[in-house]
Amino acid sequence: MTDLLAGRALTDAAARRQLNRRHRAERRFKYYGLAAIFAALGVLAVLLVTIVGAGYSAFQQTHIQLDIELREDLIDPDGTRKEADIRQANYAVLVRDALIKIFPDASGRRDRRALARLVSSGADIQLLNMVLADATLIGSTQTIWFKASADFDSLSKGQIPRDVPEDARKVSDKQIAWFDHLAALGLVEKKFNTGFFTTADSREPEQAGILGAVVGSLLTLIVTLVLSFPIGVMAAVYLEEFAPKNRLTDFIEININNLAAVPSIVFGLLGLAVFLNFFGLPRSAPLVGGMVLALMTLPTIIIASRAALRAVPPSIREAALGMGASPVQTVTHHVLPLAMPGILTGTIIGMAQALGETAPLLMIGMVAFIVDVPGSFTDAATVLPVQVFLWADAPERGFVERTSAAIMVLLAFLIVMNILAVVLRRRFERRW
């Protein structure tokens, strides 16, 4: 030994220095790793705090309580109690009268209109639906909570500063005085905003909800899953288990990998050109959105499925073939069940990507303003990320918090999907 190393030993100063250097390098490497993780966690925390901080107030809605006199002479002067007659009445007048009763000083036309703006413009629809549901209410006086209009909702949440000049804010000093008076009377209250989860989009922030986008996203994802899962898995199984290895399959493999890297808007253009313009499918429909997203998700599913199939030990295939199982039996009885956890994980990752995709859907018209909750795959619809995009673009103050709230709903969806992936993987996992 000593001859070989020219008299040097591991206890020499140089060797020790080398050892110390190595130890320091390893410690440093560990700290780099920790720093990377904390940086990632920090960014995530900032993201969540920003979104939740901006969005939590959207889950509350300011309401104003009014005593409404459901005057028969205004609602149903002929006493027919027919739906058509009831529908024709002007319920906004009832709401305004109830306000004027509290504030008799508001006498001019302009004042009255300003006063009526305290309450959401959807108040008349609310009254109409109430009367339609129970015609016996006509003639009585009811105490009803109405949504405050978006500006006064913002005011009560402190989002509109009171100390700026009157002409620089959307609510006048007089309106603020009225609102404060109502609050002093105990007629203003913040309640949980159920409407946010039960209605679709609206021009008025206080009436806008997420349900339309949620249903649109669900319908779109169903189409995506139904199309891309079977096609993706069959393609992966064929390429991995049955296809001969030759130039053609190499070429197909390269193209699938390329497809996974194609910008998603290109798929949107393809959907526009092929599905809408050539096949004439309906615009803005979850059906077409799902088809476009399926094209986008396919490469992800194929690549993940192939990796999962490749991870099944060849000894299992040999065992099955050696037992006289046909190639198809080998795949369906043994290889596919063993690969299923990996395939499902890949599929759910692909679906999560599809859930968050905006650009291709803009191309096929899913960016339209739609106030109805879609009822079928061919109805006009929007999806969650597009809804976020639309609201982020809207000028009204009330949409700021709703944008963040919609992002929270989108994130909740993603978390649910990821939990589902973990649960499915656990269920199907087998050890060998």
Binding site: S315, E318, A319, L321, G322, M323, G324, A325, W432
Partner: protein
Amino acid sequence: MTAMPDQDVEMGRAPAPMPNKIRTQHVSVYYGDKCAIKDVSLDIESNRVTAFIGPSGCGKSTFLRCINRMNDTIDICRVDGSIVLDGTDIYDSKIDVVQLRARVGMVFQKPNPFPKSIYDNVAYGPRIHGLVSGRGETDDVVEASLNRAGLWDEVKDRLQDPGTSLSGGQQQRLCIARAIAVQPEVILMDEPCSALDPIATARIEELIDELRANYTIIIVTHSMQQAARVSQRTAFFHLGDLIEFGDTEQVFTNPIEQKTQDYITGRFG
């Protein structure tokens, strides 16, 4: 040299000739351009254990896998010549590979039970070949196969446990039980004991000797002692050539070829 590889080895008893089960004639196997087996002709006797020995890479496993056409699964593999099982050429285009593999079972080097229950492992073959119908019949086949593989007493109370929960030796016996559950005529064993400890190996060797009464067995092995212990006929392969084929006792005590002599005395390999 005293052509005894090991003093403890109990030699295969000098066998009376049995009818031929398998005849192979001028079999050559190619992987792409590479020739793995060159013009091998040998006959496998019925109800005998035939051992293939030889150094690593000599083609003995390749040749074994020709007999149930497992090489079909390798794209670049090509087999020339004829292999005749009970009078029919197994490479005939009319032969159904699935049925052939039911007749010629296989046990692999590494125990490879399916990641299913012990019961399902054994029942799988009979089920896919339609050899059983109903729970009762399946139960009987499972019990009989496990019994024959000498595993029944160890697993009869835990048939629903995964096959992979057994020890290595038990797993290999489970694989043998799985192979014999479809009543094959021939069982191919590709180094079945190479992953096992000596006690488990001894257990499998005993089992092979018992199975000989009902099946024709071909075993590939690296261990010359094992070949000497379990087989009646031995074939020695070297670099794709069949060097010598004869009764085990003769091959080990009085080899004709110099290469065989060198190999069994440990001069190479």
